[in-house]
């Protein structure tokens, strides 16, 4: 760490460095930011932009960038402030980290921070005709009533460019040319897995360009969290990626516990871990089902769903709900597990392990499936890192990105499991990673069953002293976990009150839509469906 610190001081003497927090914090002004970013990427190998958090401090607006070195797994974060608070402008880092494209558009959408040099400065989630920026503290909701007329000007985009004298100027542009044959896919479409919308320019059946239009289920969770206390906030984590409900909630709990310095009983942590893995299993089964269904193999979908019911039963018996379980809580879990919990988990593991073979027999080896997925939608390793693709999709491209291995949390370092890594990065590999990961889930669950038995089938499940009124110390916290679809991160900024100042969710699916255009270009329209299904995103997780 000290090495990095020295290097940064050398590179940029104006930067203030703070080592008190969990990660190294560098604060710079916008003028130095782009040069520093370049140096960080090329010289210090911080090639992985984990998160961009738009921020509004009382005196300034700006961003917090989380950077990771993919070799050493070191993390630093950089706080950049814009010179002008009312018309904030920052230099874009899209040229260094392509993932910043959508991330910066999101910040622009929420805070109105304009990124100079960004190629496509449009709104991300909100309507084109939206007035104001909702995450600013002075935003008035009355300015945007419900409008039922269609949006206009969808092809309009703009850039902000800086000339040699430092003058910034707006340049208009177009998303699609007038003579392009643009097909609209979504928001109501059977295989966009929700309300995603693509606008695809076609040449015959070949896709030339895809414009991803997001925000059809944007619910403003980050803003709503600012008005809630910490325990109340937990509710929303489950409704983003509902296929990783336990895991997201676990992440939020870990983050708050870290800030409070709360010790969680080992048994409670074990239960949480088991729930996480069950959730992952259920999520991968769903993604198997959806992938097969999108390719027309309807029966395989039903097989996947048949086995998910077993996992739902376990949730149902212990948590009292099939989905949105609300089970983890700050300091542990809300109730002890059902007495048959271990028996049920073992049974589910056995059944699913057996049925996985059947899935392979039905779909994986099928000549049509192989032809449709192999070599389709290739995402190479460099692109995967540039676009910050994590989770099964990243590992299919050969990126070592399993948070359970890179930054072990909970009790994962006590478990023996493999990180499934494939090299080709095509749809087939993405599919296979999920299939193999299910086997790893089963492996972890079996070990966890033994450990839980050793701890006692019933016992301590919540920390004895959880504060009734929770106040996080002033400062900011960041926690990452491995959700079903990749690294899920929670950023909380607190001023010492019962309510947070800013909450940001770094969702894995949000980065996944960044590569839709890259992977689908020059493929057929049928491949668009295969590729997006193999990327496997959950839309509410993207839109939040």
């Amino acid at each position: 760490m000290a090495e990095i610190q020295d290097k940064i001081t050398q590179l940029c003497p104006q930067a203030q460095i703070d080592t008190t927090g969990e990660f190294l914090l560098v604060t710079v002004a916008d003028a130095q930011w782009h040069d520093l970013a370049k140096a960080l990427k090329t010289q210090l190998h911080f090639d992985y932009l984990t998160a961009v958090v738009g921020m509004e401090w009382p005196d300034a607006r700006g961003c917090v960038y989380y950077l990771t070195n993919t070799d050493t797994q070191e993390v630093i974060h950089v706080k950049v402030t814009a010179p002008d608070r009312e018309q904030p402008m920052l230099h874009s880092v899209v040229d260094l980290w392509p993932v910043a494209n959508f991330q910066e558009r999101e910040v622009y959408d929420f805070f109105g921070i304009i990124f100079i040099g960004h190629p496509d400065m449009r709104r991300m989630f909100l309507r084109n005709d939206w007035v104001g920026y909702p995450l600013r503290k002075d935003y008035d909701p009355a300015t945007n009533p419900l409008r039922l007329e269609d949006e206009t000007g969808e092809d309009y985009t703009c850039r902000w460019v800086e000339d040699e004298n430092g003058k910034v100027k707006k340049v208009d542009g177009k998303v699609f040319e007038d003579d392009e044959y643009v097909v609209n896919v979504g928001p109501q479409h059977p295989s966009t897995h929700g309300v995603m919308r693509y606008r695809a320019s076609l040449d015959g059946e070949v896709v030339k360009k895809i414009d991803v239009v997001s925000g059809y289920i944007h619910r403003g969770i980050e803003k709503m969290c600012e008005d809630l206390t910490y325990p109340q906030m937990l509710l929303y984590t489950e409704r983003m990626d509902y296929m990783a409900a336990h895991i997201n909630r676990h992440c939020m709990c870990l983050c708050i516990e870290k800030a409070l310095g709360l010790e969680v009983p080992r048994r409670a942590e074990l239960i949480r871990l088991m729930m996480d893995e069950l959730m992952r299993l259920s999520s991968h089964l769903l993604s198997y089902g959806c992938l097969t269904m999108d390719q027309g193999a309807t029966t395989a979908f039903f097989y996947g769903f048949r086995d998910r019911e077993l996992i739902y039963d376990i949730f149902d018996r212990t948590c009292g709900a099939r989905m949105s379980m609300s089970y983890s809580t700050i300091g542990g879990v809300v109730a002890d597990v059902h007495e048959d919990f271990i028996k049920d988990v073992r049974h589910a593991c056995d059944v699913i392990e057996k049925n996985l073979k059947e899935y392979h027999k039905l779909f994986t080896g099928n000549v049509i499936a192989v032809n449709r997925m192999t070599g389709v939608g290739i995402l190479n390793k460099q692109d995967a890192i540039d676009y910050a693709i994590t989770g099964p999709s990243g590992r299919a491209s050969g990126v070592h990105c399993d948070v359970r291995k890179t930054h072990p949390y909970s009790l994962y370092n006590e478990f023996d499991f493999d990180e499934v890594i494939y090299q080709n990065g095509d749809s087939m590999d993405r599919y296979m990673v999920r299939m193999k990961e299910m086997e790893q889930c089963i492996k972890i669950l079996r070990q966890a069953c033994d450990k839980l038995e050793a701890e006692g089938i019933q016992g301590e499940y919540i920390a004895p002293k959880v504060p009734k009124v929770m106040k996080l110390p002033a400062g900011h916290w960041y926690q990452q976990v491995e959700a079903s679809r990749g690294a899920f991160g929670v950023y909380i900024e607190s001023d010492g009150n019962t309510k947070p100042v800013r909450v940001h969710f770094q969702s894995p699916c949000f980065n996944l839509i960044g590569v839709v255009d890259l992977t689908c270009r020059d493929n057929l329209i049928a491949d668009l469906i295969t590729i997006t299904a193999s990327l496997d995103f959950v839309i509410p997780d993207i839109d939040r």
Binding site: F125, L126, R127, P134, Y139, P141, N144, L146, R147, L148, E149, D150, E151, P187, Q188, H189, P190, G194, V195, G215, Y216, I217, H218, R219, G220, I221, K223, M224, D227, L235, Y236, R239, Y242, M243, L286, G289, F301, F302, F305, R306, R308, E309, Y312, R322, M323, S324, I539, P540
Partner: protein, 203 residues
């Protein structure tokens, strides 16, 4: 007046005053026997062949998939022919939050459907905005933009609840009058956010 739904006792449905009142209203004048029988036949057909439009925005859609899958199997009721084109669907089940960007699309989908068409607001988000009621861009209940026939609370509702809602819809269909009577009671202009009403206001 009893409305018969297979293997569901009338008492189990008695919690819905709205439909009971509706039945009384419709039956007050009496009906011609031939027209009445034809009505019954029509309603039997419609109520037993409700084809949903695939319209899932979030969590509820996953439970809806479970409803179609092996354990719950809505094919038993003949509800399984999920259509992707609104022209061919009979009812739209709004599964998941509707936000300001989605609202025009939902409205359009509803308008694209062929009569007779029904709406089930499924999940607390579509009933009232649910946990997202305080958001800056969430519609506080789809009944502000399209007329709703059955409200199905839950977050998300269990598959059993889905069946209950579908049976309530069947029950509602079975009392409607196909000949002479009007199927739909609410007019679009009665809604809080109708496109035309808003346009007139702004004039």
């Amino acid at each position: 007046m009893e409305v018969k739904i297979k293997s569901m006792k009338h008492e189990d449905f008695k919690d819905n005053e709205y439909i009971d009142n509706l039945v009384e209203q419709l039956r007050a004048g009496g009906t011609n026997i031939i027209v009445g029988k034809l009505d019954q036949l029509m309603n039997w057909g419609v109520s037993n062949s409700l084809w949903p439009l695939c319209f899932g925005t979030s969590c509820c859609a996953i439970e809806f998939m479970c409803l179609g899958a092996a354990r719950y199997d809505m094919a038993r009721y003949g509800f399984e022919v999920a259509r992707n084109s609104p022209r061919q669907a009979d009812y739209i089940m709004c599964q998941g939050t509707i936000n300001y960007r989605m609202a025009p699309a939902l409205k359009r989908l509803y308008e694209q459907m062929a009569e007779p068409k029904y709406v089930i607001a499924c999940g607390s988000c579509t009933v009232s905005g649910g946990p997202f009621k305080n958001s800056y861009c969430v519609v506080k209940g789809v009944d502000e933009i399209i007329p709703v026939d059955v409200y199905l609370p839950g977050c998300p509702p269990r598959p059993e609840a889905f069946f209950y809602a579908l049976m309530q819809l069947q029950r509602k269909i079975k009392v409607q009058k196909y000949f002479g009577g009007v199927n739909r009671k609410e007019k679009l202009s009665d809604l809080k956010y109708d496109g035309k009403a808003l346009a007139e206001q702004s004039k």
